[in-house]
Symmetry: C2
Subunit: 514 residues, 2 copies
């Protein structure tokens, strides 16, 4: 294997998780139950544009990793060899003995399934486990969830810009190393139709996409004819998947005419061509001009794949330019838009403009010696940022149109059945909304029990199910929140009982020794 | 294993590499020798600031991957199951038979070793291999080299901003999935002192770094006393590695005083404390104030670790603010700067501001049926962007001070021994420099033979050797090119013989059928 056990197994975590775990072990705190909440603070902001929501992803691979990962003898051997500054062993023999049987089978988790539209400052995953175990899980949990959610969110925006048209993930060559595979999976959850990543697509049981590069045309030009011969060769080998890259020499002067010629030959032989790809130049202009040429040659339906530095804004611009420019060439703009396919690479798999997702994993409660839950608070945080101890509920409230109008954080045992329903602003005192029964069509719990002491209690499916969740959620999201630039802020609210508990806690905080 | 064979083995590549490989195989071109060059087009541009150079990284893991990766039966079985749009097999039986013995042992490579300072539009790696093999290598080569070079470059800038002071890579929690390990290795090559990534550090045989998080203090506050008890516990378990995070409650009002108390207890017990970490607030101000408190308590040497959204610009600002602000608190600025350690996370491992490296891998020559090399040209490129066929040399020319004054691309067989030495501008006709013997102290070849038909012909060492190369190169780089903002453009030049060949080629191009 390329990635070693040491670097991909139980020790795929931060150094300090282990030093804390040993400390907890030394002080007999390691098996106290603790609760940590995963949430994120703000939607990605790409500078000139910003997201109005995020799409959850990464839970499936995280759970698989937790299931499969054991502390291996190589792990404890490597830890045992680490020394302090004074040359003494960093990790004691009795801690390493405990470590050798550490596993994530002790973890209970509630979480929002993959592919859902979510909002900042709501609990998206809740972990309850022995303190040392929950602590060591911090880094791998954040690593899995943050990057995948970042890419699923970016992909969702790209796909929205494409009006849910076909988007191919083409980013592997500039993707972040082995993160390329994580990016592919997340992009598919975010709505990408397919990926060029062959191995990962096969692993996921999905069809990968791709045709040929400039290099193939160049090779034919050098030693086996020219562009036309290259296209003919491609059509010969792939008569039913013939999609030709037309910009190696001159898109309109050579590429499209040669492609049309080969398409005609293909049709004579009983095969329908698939399309052309444009990878340089003014993509909108070339798409209109190519569409006209293809129309006139009798190929009004073949696809036009666009690629080259695409993201949600460039796609938006290209579509608008086509709407403006098509009539000048006597082409119906709608017919051009309908045949477009978008190949999106670097900018999607690196979340161009905002390359990290600010998810955090915070201890919110821990059991004392009597096994009673005690809140864990970071006092330096502002009251508004104070995390609530204990398990919480997260509910989505739908208005009379069936559109999501707020996400409501409650106590775990609460069900938002009372009417009118009170939604309290999380920060501004005295601000809130009151919804009467006639204003609410449904309330839906978002946090689902995932595993109980390591045993999975639900089958959430895979990428296909996550993709469906995103589509369903988008259909129930306000268009203002979906806006690509300067989106409307979605309401996240607290229940009155949660606010009351917070006040009680804040009052009691004064008693806690500083 | 977490990452499957399908997704990490030979099929860790783009779909179209395989469709092209099959086409070459069908037309008997697959075993023609071909040459591909790897280069990048421009230094990373972070928006408000931009790099004046890049640092090479990723070659070691790429070569290891090429050595270990074989086409497995699972790979060919998965390919064999893929179907065209018409339901016929996408890959033929005879191609899959050929594929089953495909391997990168057929590759010869010349490359610039890891850790070197490099510049745009120069050949950084040259691959010579049978066409189908060289083609399939495109994606994994770019994936390995682009991301690692991106991160090594960003890390180098962060370390330069820190005046080569200690920088810890803390980015794992927001790093791009499994790319976290690639990021750690690249950051170390770029000059980071150590990483918090435990598994990868162990894998590389290096000491990882880290202490404790806010959660540990919060746990003690909740069920086992308070911050002071948390610090005492940490000192008890790690008396010789005691570095305390002081901002959980109130940095100056609680954290530093409690840390000082524990440091005094440690010293009484015969141990020297290591330092404190500041993770929020005005880091420059808090560093000055903390330094003063530590000085007055008799700990003028313990470290002050800063973390929280650091990158090269924030470090630069923090250092300048300390220089301005320290005298007001009667602290010597230099002594504060000398004790700083920088914990740099998300912004380093995602190359904040420019999240992809624009390296490309272009076919430059392929053998015809008579095994004569023929240039492969993308005619639509401007003449300036035209890649040269055949193997090239890359030389660094040092001036009389021993400072690098230009990188010179030559024919492979050229040695830049002639004096005066002519350096031709790669784009502007008629522009060049002429260097007399007295202006040149040395010329150094940068492209090294790496492997010959898969057999490694050189041992380039590992991360430690790469780190040394960066330090040596930086010492011979003009300070203007090293500038963090608006750096001076480094000279990349061509030899007269290369320019002559280019002209001959351009003239001949007219003959090539379009």
């Amino acid at each position: 294997m390329v990635i070693s056990v040491l670097a991909s197994g139980f020790l795929f975590t931060d150094h300090y998780q282990l030093t804390m775990a040993q400390l907890y072990h030394r002080f007999g705190l390691h098996d106290r139950l603790a609760q940590f909440d995963y949430s994120y603070r703000s939607n990605p902001d790409y500078g000139t544009h910003q997201a109005g929501y995020a799409v959850t992803a990464g839970l499936g691979p995280l759970l698989d990793w937790m299931d499969r990962t054991r502390v291996e003898p190589a792990d404890t051997a490597a830890l045992g060899a680490l020394q302090s500054a004074a040359g003494t062993p960093m990790f004691s023999r009795d801690f390493l003995e405990w470590m050798s049987s550490a596993a994530y089978s002790a973890v209970s988790m509630w979480a929002v399934p993959e592919g859902r539209i979510v909002h900042p400052n709501t609990p998206l995953a809740v972990v309850e486990a022995p303190l040392a175990i929950a602590q060591m899980l911090e880094t791998p949990l954040l690593n899995h969830l943050n990057y995948a959610s970042l890419i699923a969110t970016k992909a969702s925006r790209v796909v929205e810009a494409a009006h849910e048209g076909p988007v191919f993930e083409f980013g592997m060559r500039r993707a972040p190393g082995w993160g390329a595979n994580d990016a592919t999976r997340a992009a598919l959850i975010g709505g990408a139709t397919a990926s060029s990543n062959l191995g990962m697509s096969l692993e996921l049981g999905l069809a990968s996409q791709g045709t040929h590069g400039h290099s193939m045309v160049q090779v034919f030009m050098s030693i086996a004819g020219g562009e036309l011969e290259a296209f003919r060769a491609y059509a010969d080998v792939y008569p039913d998947n013939c999609l030709l890259l037309v910009d190696t020499i001159d898109t309109l002067g050579s590429g499209v005419p040669n492609a049309v010629r080969v398409f005609e030959e293909l049709r004579s032989a009983g095969h329908e061509p698939r399309g052309i790809r444009l990878d340089s130049g003014d993509l909108a202009h070339l798409a209109v001009r190519s569409a006209r040429m293809l129309n006139e040659a009798g190929f009004p339906d073949v696809r036009i794949v666009l690629s080259s530095q695409l993201d949600e804004l460039t796609i938006w611009q290209i579509r608008n330019q086509i709407i403006d420019e098509a009539p000048r060439y006597e082409v119906e703009a709608a017919s051009v838009l309908a045949r477009l396919v978008y190949g999106v690479g670097s900018r999607m798999v690196t979340s161009h403009g905002d390359s990290s997702f600010d998810g955090v994993y915070k201890v919110v409660a821990v059991q004392n010696a009597s096994r009673e839950w005690r809140p864990a608070i970071k006092i330096s945080d502002s009251p508004a940022k104070l995390a609530y101890p204990g398990r919480k509920g997260l509910w989505r409230v739908y208005d009379q149109r069936g559109i999501a109008t707020a996400d409501l954080v409650t106590l775990a045992e609460e069900t938002p059945d009372g009417r009118p329903l009170h939604l309290i602003h999380p920060v501004q005192a005295g601000v809130g909304r009151v919804l009467g029964d006639e204003e609410i069509s449904d309330t839906e719990p978002l946090l689902i029990p995932i595993c109980a002491k390591g045993r999975r209690v639900v089958d959430l499916g895979g990428v296909a199910e996550a993709r469906s969740r995103r589509v369903a959620d988008l259909g129930r999201l306000d268009p203002g929140v979906r806006r690509l630039v300067n989106p409307h802020t979605y309401h996240v609210s607290l229940s009155p009982r949660l606010v009351d508990l917070k006040q009680t806690m804040m009052d009691a905080l004064v008693e806690i020794p500083g």
